[in-house]
Amino acid sequence: MTVAISSTQPQPKLKISLLVPCYNEEKSIEASIHSCLNQTRAFDQLVYVDDSSKDKTPQILARYADRIEHVTTPKNTGNKSSAQEYGLAFVTGDIMVTTDGDTLLDPHFAEEIEKSFNANSDIVAVAGYVRSLSYNWLTLCRAFEYAIGQNIHKVAQHYMDYIYVMPGAASAFRTNIFKNNITFDHDTITEDLDFTYKLHRKKFKIVYNQRAISWTQDPATLPGYINQMRRWFGGGWQNLLKHYSIIPTTPMRAFELSLMYAEGLIFSTLLLLIPILNWWLACTVLLSYFCVAFLFAAWAAWKERRPGLLIVPIPYMLLIYINAYIYLEQFVKEIILRRKNLIWFKPDRIHIPLQ
């Protein structure tokens, strides 16, 4: 089951630019730059936007001045989308790839992106495949969630012609269409989801290429994990509220969004409610769920070539309760109480050695 794009006809060479916003990325930025420079199909332009970092990020970026364009915001903007907006003015390529300062790109990333755009001139955006760098049990759990989300949900979404979200760590857009149609509103905490809704609103074609792979750093501590989930789920609700008017405009969007949000809402409630109503049933359901999760983990371990994923179902039983609680918490905050949280969460970085 692979969603890969193939192009047999010769195409005019596209100019591909890379846009990387970064803030205090001294532990990861050098490895990230190396991965972006070591591509089988070189990027034509690499723009790194330093959001007035306070650590050694500017010095590291300066060391690569002959191969990258290093721009700095006049003052710290406080969020990723503002830094992206600032850097967008410097992007001159036909295609703009966006990724993060803590993300490593697979050597074939740019080549796969080019292949996708060459396959069909209607394609406006390409979503890549994100993998989690391995550190501990938490990042393994995240790798498991990515594997399920990207090998099942996103593949089906690709077939249905409705990609739910363009991942911030691995996305590519036609620059002129992006510049003319996407506005940086800074009114949600997940700008990648906001961009995706905006592209769908205009009925632009978005595809998924599983071979355009990036490796990203996810939180390795429980507080970091909780903060990230709060941002993602909170951002999901913010965007749903912001773009609710386009949900029923196409059948597939209506189906996909109502399925995901109904499931999240109803089953999160049940997950927390059932142990109170019937502890024995809760134990039995959890045991059944563990068996199902183990089957999926075994499949993910084979698919991702990561045997460590086999142990994921054990901590995953704890994480589903945390996820369910945060999902409902963010629903109450964002939808019922309308307390919009726009504070950008910056997780603690871990040093990434040079490959």
């Binding site: 089951m1 209607d122 969630e145 990515y146 399920i148 099942i152 949900h153 593949v155 089906a156 979404q157 077939y159 249905m160 012609d161 409705y162 989801l193 205009k202 009925k203 074609k205 993602w232 789920f233 951002g235 949900i247 029923p248 405009t249 196409t250 059948p251 597939m252 969007r253 209506a254 189906f255 969004l257 109502s258 399925l259 995901m260 499931e263 999240g264 109803i266 089953f267 999160s268 049940l270 409610l273 059932i274 109503l277 019937n278 502890w279 024995w280 049933l281 809760a282 039995t284 359901v285 059944s288 068996c291 199902v292 999760a293 089957l295 999926f296 589903i320 996820n323 369910a324 945060i326």
Partner: protein, 171 residues
């Protein structure tokens, strides 16, 4: 960014969609310029949202009713109220209580549904039968295509669930 908080019913449904695609290839039609959705399209969209919520809600209700009907239930009053409410709605209490009590086991067995789709895929590949293609309208499917797809998905899930419940009741 995970789409849902955990592995749930949506994974099963997405697996079924992938299975359908392997049998009947969805082919995209020509894209037309952007124009606002018509009243009919909006009505159809709202109908789909309502249907999807209903299906998920029913699944959730099964689990909830199971939690208040078993002997370990801590809220007996809720159990009585639910049973009475279902009786009032002419919902088969036998099926509801027996099925719901063991229904969570059925959920696991329903995971086999995508495997059922693998059989025709295997046969088609073995006998080199090419997939018929369905041309999609711009930006999604036409109403007819979506109706077919959704009714197919829902009927497969519901009928598999009923078969499992029936087998449990016979035992």
């Amino acid at each position: 960014m995970p789409t849902t908080p955990f592995i749930g019913l949506s994974v099963l449904i997405h697996l079924i969609i992938i299975g359908f695609h392997k049998i009947v290839r969805f082919k995209e039609g020509p894209r037309t310029p952007y124009k606002p959705a018509s009243i009919l399209q909006l009505a159809f969209g709202y109908f789909i949202i309502f249907s999807t919520f209903s299906v998920i809600l029913t699944s959730g209700f099964w689990l909830l009713s199971a939690s208040v009907q078993e002997e370990h239930s801590t809220i007996y009053a809720v159990e009585r109220a639910t049973t009475l409410a279902m009786h009032e709605l002419h919902f088969s209490t036998t099926v509801a209580s027996a099925g719901a009590a063991r229904g969570y086991g059925a959920l696991g067995i329903m995971m086999l549904v995508p495997l059922m789709l693998a059989i025709p895929v295997y046969l088609m590949r073995r006998h080199k039968i090419s997939r018929p293609s369905v041309t999609l309208s711009q930006g999604g499917y036409s109403a007819v295509q979506v109706s077919l797809l959704m009714s197919g998905i829902i009927s497969v899930v519901i009928s598999a669930g009923y078969i499992v419940l029936y087998l449990l009741l016979v035992k």
